[in-house]
């Protein structure tokens, strides 16, 4: 029987794939709890990325 694949994600931190996805879910939920102001700043960063890196010239980068 093959042993379960594990991933090293930091010093002394080895997790299974389901555990890794749980970590991701947890991180997303933490992001959901940050202040509204910080989310708007993150949104503007995403708009900047879409405009410059993604070359989406139709995207308006909000002035905040």
């Amino acid at each position: 029987m093959k042993s379960e694949i594990k991933i090293e994600i930091g010093k002394d931190r080895i997790v299974t794939l389901p555990e890794l996805y749980q970590e991701y879910d947890k991180a997303h939920r933490i992001q959901a709890g940050i202040p509204f102001e910080d989310k708007i700043k993150a949104l503007v960063d995403l708009q900047k990325i879409a405009f410059s890196w993604g070359k989406r010239r139709d995207v308006i980068v909000w002035r905040i």
Partner: protein, 170 residues
């Protein structure tokens, strides 16, 4: 963004709209992790229509903002302090969403934001690909009052659609 909200609050103070709330993607941002969007959707409860034709006019909104120097349009969006804003009439479900929206502050400016339960119903009604993504984020990342959601969905004929797509969701 602060000045954008101040300008929109001005419409309420001046009695040009009865009430308003932030809806759409930016409202969802209040409750879930950051994601990309282009514009700020504002649901407005306009003053009652006048005249025999019962037309709800947005002209008083646009004229008032124009008087303050906001007359630049980018497609369907009115640019207010560098933010593309779309005004949408709050009717039926969306009017209820505005009435029940929560008071909050953004950069020290008071505003109202549509609650997750109403957002789910509104996104379910529109149900474009981007709406599906937002429903999933809301269900996964924020606290939903099940009873409240069920009540909204039932009253607006959306319960079966929701059940078929999301079942008992958690």
């Amino acid at each position: 963004m602060k000045k954008t909200l101040e300008a929109i609050n001005g419409l309420k103070k001046e009695g040009i709209v009865k009430d308003y709330a932030i809806g759409g993607a930016v409202a969802a941002l209040k409750w879930v992790e950051p994601f990309f969007t282009r514009d700020l959707d504002i649901f407005v409860i306009p003053l009652p229509p006048t005249g025999e034709e019962r037309v709800i006019s947005f002209l008083p909104i646009y004229n008032s903002l124009k008087d303050k120097g906001y007359d630049q349009w980018a497609g369907q969006w009115l640019m207010i302090e560098g933010v593309p804003v779309e005004f949408l009439p709050a009717e039926g479900l969306s009017k209820e969403a505005v009435d029940q929206a929560v008071e909050t502050e953004l950069e020290g400016v008071g505003t109202k934001v549509v609650t997750p339960e109403y957002l789910i119903a509104l996104f379910l009604k529109a149900f474009r690909e981007k709406d599906k993504m937002k429903i999933r984020l809301l269900l996964d990342q924020t606290k939903i009052e099940r009873k409240k959601l069920r009540d909204i969905l039932t009253r607006h004929g959306l319960e079966e659609k929701f059940k078929a797509l999301y079942g008992d969701w958690k």
